[in-house]
């Protein structure tokens, strides 16, 4: 699939770009409230921690505007329409709601691919949806069920799968550990590492700081507006955090099914 590098707004608008070994792809411009360019590496897993600021960042990246009292507002719709490919390049896995209740799980996942007529090589929307369902390990007998008939954990998995069905360059995970039982966190860990293998940049927003520190490559510091490595972040927090996170990472890696 060809990605357009056409930036249709003024050069001074902040941009989001993905760096690959062979070059950089400019995905487009961010919302008007954003103040800095955002360069990430392909396959990088970046965590956004601690409270409302990360969610605010996600909303701004998607052009959804600031989060106000738990609702989502859309002040940037005009600029959204001029950047259609930009928003296909971003996959969003929402926190807990957003599945269409009149569609089955597989139809929910197929929806963006089918609507945008997206194909990946020889894989059509059906095949892409089935691939996403297998990767997130949803049992096949549940594929034709409705969201209201399955557990919250399965719904969360479907939200994650839907975020990557169109093979986006960047996937935004909004609190992915929400609704995941603690014993199933290795599945989530494995799935996020799978995105890294597929050279997909993951922006992970969560309040589950130990999990984020175990899975991420870098942490976005909203105060200094810069990326920090995990080691730099843990140096600030203290040595006991370092031990804890190392043990948690080891436990997750040992528990997850091999990729």
């Amino acid at each position: 699939m060809d990605w357009s590098e056409d930036v249709t707004v003024e050069p001074s608008s902040p941009t989001i770009a993905v760096r690959y070994p062979v070059g950089t792809t400019n995905l487009g411009t961010l919302g008007p409230e954003f103040n800095y360019n955002f360069d990430v590496y392909a396959g990088q897993i970046i965590g956004f921690l601690e409270g409302k600021n990360p969610t605010l960042l996600f909303r701004l990246i998607l052009g959804l505007g600031p989060l106000a009292s738990g609702s989502i507002e859309f002040p940037a719709l005009a600029s959204l329409r001029t950047q259609e490919n930009f928003y296909i390049n971003l996959g969003l896995a929402q926190r807990e709601k957003g599945l269409l209740s009149n569609l089955s799980l597989v139809e929910n996942i197929e929806l963006p691919a089918r609507y945008h007529n997206f194909t990946w090589g020889e894989l059509g929307p059906d095949e892409l949806a089935h691939k996403a369902l297998r990767e997130i390990m949803i049992p096949e007998e549940l594929w034709n069920g409705r969201p209201d008939h399955v557990a919250w954990e399965i719904r969360k998995r479907v939200l994650l799968a839907r975020g990557v069905v169109c093979c986006p360059k960047i996937v935004l995970l909004e609190d992915p550990t929400n609704m995941f039982p603690w014993e199933k966190l290795p599945d989530l860990f494995r799935w996020i590492k799978l995105q890294k293998q597929e050279q997909r940049t993951t922006l992970l927003c969560t309040e589950n700081i130990p999990f984020a520190l175990s899975v991420c490559d870098a942490i976005w510091n909203a105060e200094t507006q810069s990326l920090q490595t995990i080691d730099q972040y843990l140096d600030i927090k203290g040595p006991e955090w370092n031990t804890f996170v190392t043990q948690m990472r080891k436990q997750l890696e040992n528990s997850c099914v091999s990729i």
């Binding site: 609702s71 859309f74 969003l92 709601k97 957003g98 269409l100 929806l111 945008h116």
Partner: protein, 187 residues
């Protein structure tokens, strides 16, 4: 009617009362009661569940994906309902005619066809389709106007019914007025 020798007027009465006025009105009432409430509550529930926002985040055109098919369905369904209403009304009228005296079916249908002008058919189609679209646009607007909370769902549904009723009757009067003005001008 046979007592006063008015059998020949039956066709005209069927056309004026049933085809021009009663069929579109009754069909619109059925559409409001059955479908407009469902559409309003469904869209309101989708808003509460953040399904509309999910569609927007997936860059799915909500008007094309959700609203367009519903408007098309309203147009087709009210037209079909009104047509069935007319057919049932004609059959019922004929049975009523035959209650006291025998009135041949062919003669009855012939009197209807003589009274039915192309303008009647055109306005029947236009009236039913436009009223159907008007009803569903009101229902869609009400459903999408929900702000945040689930308790607002029955409120917007009730509002949809009342507004749709008002719109249906107003459009019925307006289109009938245009029709009779047009006939008057032609004469």
């Amino acid at each position: 009617m046979s007592f006063v020798g008015g059998n020949d007027s039956l066709g005209q009465i069927v056309v004026v009362v049933l085809i021009r006025e009663l069929a579109p009105l009754m069909s619109s009432l059925v559409l409001i009661a059955r479908s407009a409430t469902a559409v309003a509550s469904e869209l309101a529930t989708m808003k509460v569940q953040q399904e509309i926002e999910a569609l927007l985040a997936m860059r799915v055109n909500v008007k094309q994906y959700l609203l367009g098919p519903r408007l098309l369905a309203a147009t087709l369904s009210i037209f079909c309902m009104a047509t069935f209403f007319v057919m049932a009304g004609i059959v019922g009228a004929w049975f009523g005619c035959n209650f006291w005296n025998y009135y041949p079916l062919f003669q009855f249908l012939n009197s209807i066809s003589l009274s039915l002008a192309p303008a009647d058919i055109f306005f029947f189609i236009a009236k039913t389709c436009l009223i159907g679209q008007g009803i569903f646009m009101v229902a869609i607007k009400s459903g999408m106007s929900l702000k945040k909370a689930p308790f607002e769902v029955p409120i917007v549904t009730n509002k949809a019914v009342v507004d749709a009723l008002f719109v249906a009757i107003a459009m019925q009067i307006f289109i009938s007025g245009i029709f009779y003005l047009w006939i008057g001008v032609k004469m």
